[in-house]
Every structure is written in structure tokens, then in C-alpha cells.
């Protein structure tokens, strides 16, 4: 089975409010798809449903061919997530956090895995430091280490470079590009950074009021809407 996410007629309602309205999309192996939309458009709700944190009102989510509702543990073993809005335990050292999550994800040869993450993500001087005392850029790299500790086949990224300085932001983007090529992961990237989306994503979905209102390759969308860049496309779609 190839790595993939398949979302079919996904819907989520809270009482009378429809947060996500029958959306469908697919992310194939070795592909990064961007999920754009204004705040409250349904991006986080969609990601929450893929992660199993939210129960869909209707529709199906298949990760690597398995339904999340029927196989949560098997799917969560192969999936991971980064968001600036969630953190790792602050009082633990970086190494302790990686050990905890290595155990939670049943990672084999954990010490070697941690060594690999340390070298890949430049964590040499951070390993024995308390996580809560790190800068936001350093914390971001630790979150990234946690997110790939289980070698996920599907990665969900919610604003992975928000509040990072340009150098660290670029480091993270380069890392994600290389990691996707190396491991052939399927990645869903929700971001407000249009340059980031243009650089990383092969295709983009624009969400508004719970609907996917447009989708396509970044260049195709720019041409289709007759704009100079993706930000202008975003503004046009959101304001219309």
C-alpha cells in the first residue's frame, strides 16, 4: 500500500454550524499539498478529523488505505503532526521528551533514532537542556524531531514555520523538502505563508467557510485568476 491520505465527502457540524462541508481530496505518496484559507475556514477542523481528534459528522478518511475510525492505533502509528499551538512538556529535557515519544510510538532502536534526529536537526547542544527554556526556533526543531521520530508516512503540518526567523524557517522548509524525497511521505501543509506554500507544495486547496473553493498547482491558480502571486489569489478568493 502506498502512502496516502484520501478524504471522501468529509463533513463536520457543531449543532447548526457547518465547519466542514462535504470536502474531498487526495494526497498521494511523495506529495505535499497546501491547505490555505482564512482563520475559521475549516483547516484545523479538517486536520483534527484526519488525526482522529474530531469525529466527522459524515464522510470517510483513509490513511494508507485504512479508515481512521476503524483503525485509529494503526493509523496514528504512521502519522504525525506539528503545530505551533501545541508543545512538548516544558519541564523535561529534550532527550527525555524524545525518549517519552519514542516509547509512545514504539520506536525500535530508540538511541540510534535519537542520534539520527540529533544530527539531522542540529540538536547536539540542546539534548540535555530543559525544553521550556529553549527559544521558539529551537523548540520548533524539537517538535520536528518528535514529529518524525516514528518515521511517519503521513505528516500534517499546521503553520510549521510560524513565528520563526527567516534562517530557521528556511532550514525547516529545506528539511521538509529533503525528508519528503527521502521517505516519500504524504504531507498536508496548512500555512498562511504564501512563499512557503509556493515553494513546497505541488498543489493547493483553498478553503473558505468549510468548502474547498478552488484547487490546483500554484502557478496554474495564479494564471487562472490573472494575479501576480499566490497571495493575491488568496485575497481575491477570500474577499469574493
Amino acid at each position: 500500500m502506498q502512502n496516502s491520505i484520501k478524504v471522501i465527502n468529509l463533513k463536520k457540524t457543531y449543532g447548526a454550524k457547518e465547519a466542514v462541508k462535504n470536502i474531498s481530496f487526495e494526497i498521494k505518496e511523495n506529495e505535499i499539498i497546501g491547505l490555505l484559507g482564512p482563520n475559521g475556514s475549516g483547516k484545523t477542523t479538517t486536520i483534527g478529523m484526519i488525526l482522529g481528534l474530531l469525529k466527522p459528522t459524515s464522510g470517510e478518511i483513509l490513511v494508507n488505505g485504512l479508515k481512521i475510525e476503524q483503525n485509529p492505533t494503526e493509523i496514528l502509528q504512521k502519522i504525525n503532526f506539528i503545530s505551533p499551538y501545541i508543545e512538548l512538556p516544558k519541564k523535561l529535557t529534550v532527550k527525555q521528551n524524545l525518549i517519552v515519544y519514542g516509547k509512545l510510538y514504539s520506536v525500535k532502536n530508540l538511541n540510534q533514532k535519537i542520534d539520527y534526529l540529533v544530527s539531522k536537526l542540529r540538536l547536539e547542544n540542546l539534548l540535555n537542556r530543559v525544553t521550556g527554556e529553549l527559544s521558539s526556533g529551537q523548540k520548533n526543531r524539537i517538535s520536528l524531531a518528535k514529529a518524525i521520530i516514528n518515521e511517519p508516512s503521513v505528516l500534517l503540518l499546521d503553520e510549521p514555520t510560524a513565528s520563526l526567523d527567516p534562517e530557521i524557517g528556511d532550514f525547516v522548509r529545506t528539511f521538509l523538502e529533503n525528508y519528503k524525497k527521502e521517505k516519500k511521505v504524504s504531507i498536508l501543509l496548512a500555512s498562511h505563508n504564501m512563499d512557503e506554500v509556493t515553494r513546497l507544495c505541488s498543489s493547493i486547496m483553498m478553503m473558505k467557510n468549510g468548502l474547498i473553493i478552488d484547487q490546483g498547482k500554484p502557478d496554474d491558480l495564479i494564471k487562472k485568476h490573472g494575479r501576480k502571486n499566490l497571495e493575491e489569489v488568496f485575497l481575491k478568493l477570500v474577499r469574493n
Binding site: L53, I75, F81, L88, P89, K91
Partner: protein
């Protein structure tokens, strides 16, 4: 001094209180529970001042037993709250760990936490007060086990509330033990309670545990039936609490509490 700014800060907390039923409940029941508990204790000692005269250490032993219950329950809640405070909640629930594994892991960790506090307390009572909780003999293990199960049960119930209602349920987490204390008959016999309260007390395992502790220490009588009743009620409440935990998790997934957990 700027009255507007001070009023703004007042409003920040006032709005928080008025938008959260658990917070309002917390404000109301703390004073009521304190008055009820100490009212019964005072009433008992003024009526039966000679009750404990031949059994030095009964109160202290009951205090240690109650503290073990308190530590177990709060310990369990703390483990859950730690994940919320550190904003690690989502990371935990997207890891491939089953709900049953979470519960068992927290149950074991809560025991370790409670024992870390309990052992020094037991060791201190002997040199300081000439009292040993070990006087309860073999029954001590059963009483501790029963209290541990009930403490865990309360912890699971509170965690269910945290899942269902979010961190505003935190205050309840701190005060469940005090809410039950008047009915637990920790420092006085059940007969001191009004009849309606006695009926409630007999629905809890606590009354059987503490009555049994007093029976052993004061009269030297081990009442197996009381221990059995405590375990029976514990089993029942533990089963209910685990069911409620699963139900709350399911409701939290529907409501979105798991991704919106915050103030």
C-alpha cells in the same frame, strides 16, 4: 491609580467566572462543604468526647488513610492536568496509545506518586507521636487497596469531566475529595450524620473503610463484611467511571474539546 484599568482587570476574571459553570459551582460549594465537615466534627467531639480516649492515634491513622486517598485521586488528576498545562494534550492524543493504556499507565503512576508522599508520613508518625499505622495489621493492606481504587475512581471521573468540559473543570479536580469528606465519616462514626446523609454515606465505600479502621483500632474487631462491601462498591464505581471516561472521550471528539483545550 486608574479606575478603568482596574475595572478592566476585574472584568477579565468576572467574565471568566460567569462563562463557566464549574467555576461558579466551585465558588458556591467550598464554603458549604467546609462548614458541613467541621460542623459534624465539632458536633461529634462535643457529644462523644470520651470516644477516642482509649484509642490514641485513631484520628492520626484515619488522617493518613484519608491523605492516601487524597494523594491518589489528586495524583491521577494532576497527571491529566499536567498535559493540559504544558499544552501537550494534543501530542498525547495523536500518539498511537489506546485509552485503556492511558488509564492503566496513569493508575500506576498515581500509585507511585501517592506512595512517595505516604511512606515518609507513616515513618514520621512513630517517632513523633508513638503511633504506628501498622497496628491495623493485615487489614491495612486491604484498606489501602480499597482507598487506592476509590481514589483512582474519583480521578477517572474528574478526568472525564476535564475531557468533556475542558480546563474549567480543573477546580472540581481539586475539590472532589472535600466534597465527599463529610459523607466519608473519616473522623467520626456514621451515626453522627443526619439520617438522609447516612443514606448517602452508605452508598460510598469510604464509610465502610473508615468504620472498619476505627473498629480494628478501638475494639480490635475485624469486620470482613465491611471490607467486602467497600470492595463491592469500589468495583461498581470504578466500572461506572471507566465507562464515563470512554463516553466523555467520545463526546469530546464530537464537540472538538480535544483540539480546543485551553482557557
Amino acid at each position: 491609580m486608574n479606575l478603568g484599568r482596574m475595572y478592566g482587570l476585574f472584568l477579565r476574571h468576572f467574565f471568566l467566572i460567569t462563562r463557566s459553570f464549574p467555576r461558579i459551582l466551585d465558588l458556591i460549594y467550598w464554603p458549604s462543604i467546609q462548614i458541613t465537615l467541621w460542623g459534624f466534627i465539632s458536633n461529634f467531639f462535643s457529644t462523644y468526647s470520651s470516644y477516642y480516649s482509649n484509642a490514641v492515634g485513631v484520628i492520626l491513622t484515619c488522617a493518613i488513610l484519608y491523605d492516601f486517598l487524597f494523594r491518589t485521586s489528586i495524583g491521577f488528576n494532576m497527571l491529566f492536568l499536567e498535559e493540559i498545562w504544558s499544552r501537550n494534550f494534543t501530542n498525547l492524543f495523536i500518539a498511537p496509545i489506546k485509552k485503556s493504556e492511558i488509564l492503566i499507565s496513569l493508575i500506576f503512576t498515581a500509585l507511585i506518586r501517592a506512595l512517595i508522599g505516604l511512606v515518609p508520613a507513616i515513618l514520621l508518625t512513630s517517632p513523633l507521636f508513638g503511633i504506628s499505622i501498622l497496628d491495623l495489621g493485615l487489614s491495612l493492606f486491604l484498606l489501602f487497596l480499597s482507598l487506592y481504587i476509590f481514589g483512582i475512581t474519583l480521578g477517572i471521573l474528574v478526568s472525564s469531566g476535564l475531557l468533556r468540559f475542558g480546563p474549567s473543570f480543573e477546580n472540581i479536580a481539586w475539590s472532589t475529595m472535600f466534597l465527599l469528606a463529610p459523607f466519608g465519616c473519616i473522623y467520626y462514626p456514621v451515626e453522627i450524620l443526619p439520617e438522609i446523609f447516612q443514606k448517602i454515606a452508605y452508598m460510598l465505600p469510604l464509610v465502610y473503610i473508615f468504620e472498619e479502621a476505627r473498629s480494628i483500632l478501638i475494639d480490635g474487631i475485624v469486620n470482613v463484611e465491611s471490607i467486602f462491601k467497600a470492595f463491592y462498591l469500589n468495583g461498581l464505581y470504578l466500572f461506572i467511571s471507566v465507562c464515563l471516561f470512554y463516553y466523555s472521550f467520545s463526546k469530546a471528539r464530537k464537540k472538538g474539546t480535544l483540539i480546543n483545550i485551553g482557557e
